[in-house]
C-alpha cells in the first residue's frame, strides 16, 4: 500500500488521436513542476494520472498546491493505492483511510464503488454497501446518508485498487501549450492578467507585451507588471514578457490627434506593435483584457475601430464578463493584490477627459494615415524592446 495523488483531467479524454499527445504533455508538466522534490513519478491509470513518491513520504501539503495550479487538471484526490482487490482488503483499507481522515467520526457518509473489471464477483453497489456496512460497524458516531453525505468515500478497482474521500478542485481547461500560441497585451490593471490566465487555461501558450512610458509611468508601475507576469508563470510554468518603450509613439499620436480620439489611436498603435512582436514569436493571435462597455474605448464601436489595426485574430476572453466576475477570477489566481497597487499604469496625461464612445472607424483610419513617421517609431520601439523571462 502507498499514498498517491489521483489527478483527474477533463476534456482531454474526448480528443481522439491527439489524446496521447495531450496526456503526455500534462504528465511532463507535472513531472517538471515536481522536479525539485525528490522521488515523485507520474503514471497513467485508465483515464487518470497517478502521482506517487517512490523514494519517501508523500508530502501532500507541498504537492497539492503545485498540481492544482497546473492547467488541464480538473481535480486531485489524495488517497491510497493497493494491489489486493479482495473484499477483505477493500474493507481494511477503506476503514483505515476513514479512521485516519475522520478520527472522531461525527460525519454522515456513503461509500461509492467503481470497478473497471466487470468480472469482479460483486457489483459496484454491492461493494459499496459491504464496505460501508463494515466501516459503520467499526467506528462510533457515524451516520449513513446516501443523498447528501458529508463524506463520499470512493473505492475504485482499476489495475490496482484505490480508496480516497477528498476531491480538491483545480482549474480544469486544457494542458498549457496544447492549443498554439498567442501574445497578450498586459497592463498593470485587473483585467489583462485574467485574460492571459483564461487563454492559458484553454491550452494556449502565451507571451506577454507591456508598453512602458517613462517618465509618464514609473519604475514601480513596471514592477507591477513584472510581478503579475511572475504570478501568471506559476500557472504556465514560464512566461516571456516583452517591455516596449512606448513614450515616443504616444507623444507622436498626442501631437497629431484630437484629444477625444487619442485613446483609440493609441490602442491601435499598441495592437500594431503587439502584432509585429507576435509575428516574430510565431503567435497566432493577440489577446486583450477588453470587456464590452467597461470604458469609452471598450464600446462595440471602439473595438471595431481599434480592431482593424491588426491583421491577426484579437481574442478578448473577458468581453462578456462583468467587472465583478473578472475581479473574482483575479482574486482566485492571485493577481488582484498586485493589480490594485496604487501606481498608475497608463499615465492620465494621455487619457482625455471626455473620450469619444462611438468613434467612426473610417475617420480614425484617416487620422492615423496622416500621422507621419508613426510606423517608423513603432519599429524603433520594437528594436529597443527588453525581454524578461519568468
Amino acid at each position: 500500500m502507498r499514498n498517491v495523488l489521483l489527478v483527474k483531467y477533463g476534456e482531454i479524454a474526448m480528443r481522439g488521436k491527439n489524446r496521447y499527445l495531450i496526456e503526455n504533455k500534462l504528465i511532463w508538466t507535472i513531472i517538471k513542476r515536481l522536479e525539485k522534490y525528490s522521488g515523485y513519478k507520474v503514471y497513467k491509470e485508465q483515464g487518470r494520472l497517478l502521482v506517487v513518491n517512490e523514494e519517501g513520504e508523500f508530502d501532500y501539503e507541498t504537492v497539492i498546491p503545485i498540481v492544482t495550479k497546473i492547467l488541464g487538471v480538473v481535480a486531485v484526490c489524495p488517497g491510497v493505492e493497493f494491489e489486493d482487490q479482495s473484499i477483505e482488503s477493500l474493507r481494511k483499507h477503506a476503514l483505515a483511510h476513514f479512521k485516519e481522515q475522520y478520527p472522531d467520526g461525527n460525519v454522515s457518509f456513503k461509500v461509492v464503488a467503481r470497478r473497471s473489471d466487470k468480472r469482479y464477483p460483486m457489483t459496484s453497489n454491492e461493494i459499496g454497501a459491504d464496505v460501508g456496512g463494515y466501516i459503520l460497524h467499526n467506528m462510533e458516531n457515524l451516520k449513513v446518508d446516501v443523498h447528501n453525505p458529508d463524506v463520499t468515500l470512493m473505492v475504485e478497482l482499476r489495475n490496482n485498487a484505490y480508496v480516497y474521500s477528498k476531491l480538491i478542485k483545480a482549474y480544469g481547461g486544457l494542458p498549457y501549450g496544447s492549443s498554439g500560441k498567442a501574445t497578450v497585451l498586459l497592463s498593470g490593471g485587473i483585467d489583462s492578467p485574467v485574460a492571459a490566465f483564461l487563454m492559458a487555461k484553454r491550452g494556449v501558450e502565451i507571451e506577454a507585451i507591456y508598453f512602458d512610458s517613462p517618465p509618464y509611468t514609473s519604475e514601480r508601475a513596471k514592477q507591477k507588471v513584472l510581478d503579475i507576469a511572475e504570478k501568471i508563470a506559476e500557472y504556465t510554468g514560464a512566461l516571456k514578457l516583452y517591455v516596449v518603450p512606448f513614450t515616443d509613439v504616444q507623444l507622436k499620436i498626442y501631437e497629431n490627434t484630437p484629444p477625444e480620439k487619442m485613446t483609440i489611436l493609441l490602442k491601435r498603435a499598441m495592437l500594431k506593435t503587439a502584432q509585429k512582436v507576435a509575428e516574430n514569436n510565431k503567435s497566432m493571435g493577440l489577446v486583450t483584457g477588453d470587456s464590452i462597455g467597461q470604458v469609452a474605448s471598450q464600446t462595440m464601436e471602439a473595438i471595431r475601430a481599434i480592431d482593424s489595426a491588426a491583421q491577426m485574430p484579437v481574442f478578448r476572453p473577458l468581453c462578456a464578463m462583468d467587472k465583478q466576475e473578472i475581479v473574482d477570477v483575479s482574486v482566485k489566481i492571485g493577481t488582484y493584490d498586485i493589480s490594485i497597487r496604487p501606481y498608475e499604469d497608463c499615465c492620465t496625461v494621455f487619457v482625455a477627459k471626455h473620450p469619444e464612445t462611438k468613434p467612426k472607424k473610417s475617420i480614425i483610419e484617416a487620422i492615423e494615415k496622416k500621422i507621419d513617421g508613426l510606423d517608423e517609431l513603432i519599429d524603433l520601439s520594437i528594436e529597443n524592446v527588453k525581454i524578461y523571462e519568468f
Binding site: P214, P215, L251, E344, V349, K353
Partner: protein
C-alpha cells in the same frame, strides 16, 4: 547622482558607519544584562542620550528612545490624550502635520475627542490669534510641527508655547521636530514633548527619540521588560541609538556652517523661477527652512517631472514620501494654495550638496519642463 531628497531620508554618514561597525563587533551584549559586558553597552547608550539631550538644551533624563519619528509622534499624542482625558476632551493640531501626527488625531477623533485642525496661510503659517482663541479650559493637548516637512515653513514655537501656557497652563504642547533636529536650533524650554528622528541626520533608520519634560505624564503604548524606565520597553536598538548620538554630535558641531551652505544651494536652485515661466514657490521663500524648497510647475504633473529628473540621475520628491502611498489624502501643499499639490516637487538638501549640483538641476529643469509642457492633460 544628485540627491535632493534629504527630507525623506539621508545617506548614512561615514563616521557614523565606522562607529556602528565598531560597535557591532564589540557591543553585542544586552544593555539590561547585569554583567559588565551589558554595562559597557548601557554606558554608550547613555552617552548618546546626553548628546541628544544637550542638542535641544534638555536634561538627559528627559530623553526616551523610540523606533523613530512615527512612534514618537503616535506615543506623544495618544499617550497624552489617555493620561489627561479626565481634564478635558479638546485637542488642537494643524492641517499641515506629517501623517504620523494627523492620523493620530484622526484616531483620537474616533475615540470621541474634539479635534481642532488649524488652517495655514499661503506661506504655511498658522494664525496665532486663531490658536489663542481655540484654547480653552478643556484643551489638553496642542501639537504643532516646528519645520514643515513638505515646504519648510517654520512655526514660531516660542510664541506658540507662551500663548498656550498663558491661556491654559495645564495644556500640553507637543512639537514634531523631525525636520528641525540638528538643522535648526531647538530649545526644549519651549515645548513639553518633542519628537526627533535619527535617519534624517545621517544616522541609521529605525531609531528616534522623544523629549518629555519632567513632570509631564505620557501613557506608554508598549509593555514589557522595563527599558527606558518602563516607558518604551523592548531591548534597546543599541546600534541605532549609538548612530544617532554620533550623527547628532557631528551635525551640532557644524550647525551654522551647514545652515549657510544649504542656504546657498537653495538660492542657486531658486534661480529656476527666473529661468522659466509658471514656477511657484510653495511656502515662505524668505524665511522658510533653507533645507527645503518646494516648487509647483504649472501644467506639469509632479510625479512625471520626478521621473523625468530621475532619468538625469536627479532624485527629488513629490510631497512627502510618507504620503505618496496614500492616494486619497489631500496633498498638504493644497492647504497653502489649492491646486498646487498636483504639480509640486520638493527639493531637500544636505550639507553635502553644493551649488554646482543646484545649477545642474536648474539646467535639467530647463530642459525637462518645457518638454513635458508640450503634453498636458486635455
Amino acid at each position: 547622482m544628485i540627491y535632493f531628497d534629504n527630507a525623506s531620508t539621508t545617506k548614512v554618514n561615514e563616521d557614523v558607519m565606522k562607529s556602528v561597525i565598531a560597535s557591532m563587533k564589540s557591543d553585542f551584549a544586552n544593555p539590561s544584562s547585569l554583567h559588565s559586558l551589558g554595562f559597557e553597552v548601557e554606558k554608550k547608550i547613555e552617552k548618546a542620550r546626553k548628546i541628544i539631550a544637550s542638542s535641544i538644551k534638555a536634561n538627559f533624563e528627559e530623553i526616551f528612545f523610540t523606533s523613530g519619528g512615527t512612534e514618537a509622534n503616535n506615543t506623544a499624542i495618544l499617550g497624552v490624550a489617555s493620561a489627561y482625558k479626565k481634564r478635558g476632551n479638546k485637542v488642537i493640531t494643524t492641517v499641515i502635520e506629517h501623517p504620523s501626527v494627523s492620523d493620530s488625531f484622526n484616531e483620537l477623533e474616533k475615540r470621541g475627542f474634539e479635534v481642532i485642525r488649524l488652517k495655514v496661510d499661503e506661506k504655511g503659517y498658522i494664525d496665532l490669534k486663531e490658536l489663542e482663541s481655540s484654547i480653552d479650559e478643556s484643551t489638553i493637548l496642542v501639537s504643532i510641527m516646528y519645520v514643515n516637512n513638505e515646504f519648510g515653513s517654520i512655526q514660531e514655537i516660542e510664541k506658540i508655547y507662551k500663548i498656550i501656557k498663558n491661556k491654559n497652563k495645564d495644556c500640553i504642547f507637543h512639537t514634531d521636530c523631525v525636520q528641525a533636529f540638528c538643522k535648526h536650533k531647538i530649545n526644549s524650554n519651549f515645548a513639553d514633548i518633542i519628537t526627533l528622528s535619527g535617519h534624517k541626520i545621517q544616522a541609521l533608520k529605525g531609531v528616534g527619540a522623544m523629549y518629555i519634560k519632567k513632570g509631564i505624564r505620557v501613557n506608554n503604548l508598549h509593555f514589557g521588560g522595563g527599558q527606558e524606565k518602563g516607558f518604551r520597553p523592548g531591548t534597546e536598538n543599541t546600534f541605532g541609538i549609538i548612530s544617532m548620538g554620533v550623527a547628532c554630535q557631528k551635525f551640532m558641531d557644524k550647525i551654522d556652517e551647514n545652515y549657510n551652505k544649504v542656504l546657498e544651494v537653495k538660492k542657486a536652485l531658486l534661480k529656476i523661477t527666473e529661468e522659466i515661466e509658471g514656477v511657484f514657490v510653495n511656502g515662505d521663500v524668505e524665511f522658510g527652512s533653507p533645507y527645503i524648497l518646494n516648487l509647483s510647475f504649472e501644467n506639469v504633473k509632479g510625479e512625471v517631472l520626478l521621473h523625468a529628473l530621475e532619468n538625469e540621475e536627479i532624485y527629488v520628491a513629490t510631497g512627502s514620501a510618507c504620503s505618496s502611498r496614500a492616494k486619497e489624502r489631500k496633498k498638504i501643499v493644497d492647504y497653502l494654495v489649492d491646486g498646487r499639490g498636483a504639480n509640486n516637487i520638493r527639493f531637500s538638501f544636505s550639507y553635502e550638496n553644493c551649488v554646482d549640483e543646484a545649477e545642474k538641476v536648474v539646467n535639467a529643469l530647463k530642459k525637462a519642463v518645457p518638454m513635458l509642457r508640450r503634453f498636458v492633460p486635455r
